[in-house]
Symmetry: C2
């Protein structure tokens, strides 16, 4: 990827040049990484699949985060049916590149927070 790797774009500007700060400008909230978990770990694709997971994300937040993740280039929104039109939310390569972050979080959480990954 000499030089020509596509960078993800934000709607607003980043706080600083630090890659960690930029990460948090993208996914630094309570829900975004959970949606990515659902995509990458549990293979969720449809709106309703995200909506009905154990954490019960509010629908307005879900709609907003899906939109942002598509804007940022972490998810694709691909139609799979007409009338009524329905969409799958699928990870882009950049979205898949989030997996190590999620795995590191899972490792910490399992060791120190007494968590177990919920059944798919």
């Amino acid at each position: 990827m000499p030089g020509h790797m596509a960078w993800l774009t934000m709607d607003k500007t980043y706080r600083s040049d630090c890659p960690i700060a930029r990460m948090l400008d993208l996914v630094g909230d309570k829900w975004t990484l959970l949606i990515l978990r659902d995509v990458l770990v549990f293979g969720c694709k449809k709106y309703g699949e995200f909506e009905h997971r154990v954490e019960r994300i509010p629908t307005n937040i879900l709609a907003d985060r899906l939109k942002r993740l598509v804007q940022y280039g972490l998810l694709h929104k691909v139609p799979y049916q007409d009338g009524p039109k329905r969409y799958h939310y699928l990870p882009t390569p950049q979205g898949k590149a989030m997996l190590p972050v999620i795995s590191a979080m899972r490792d910490f959480g399992e060791t120190y927070l007494g968590g177990r990954v919920p059944a798919g």
Copy 2:
């Protein structure tokens, strides 16, 4: 650490059993992991050192997050001077265990967000 590893405690309850969700209940905001970055990557110890970093965290948020990180058991607040009393914020073993999460974020950010870690 067969079984008897101390779990971190929250002030409120967790959303679910998922270790990733629990992680985000602890550090799922724009600033908390940035403070941990300052501690673990740049060796910041004192209030003023956190305050004057490039991202310019608001002081009320800084005070709040330091308090929470101490409550959660990720940082220690150790006195290093009397009259006026001053404190160092130092990582606990659990705090140090966050490093893989931060490293994974840095890797992603450097690859996809055009970030470079700011000078210490």
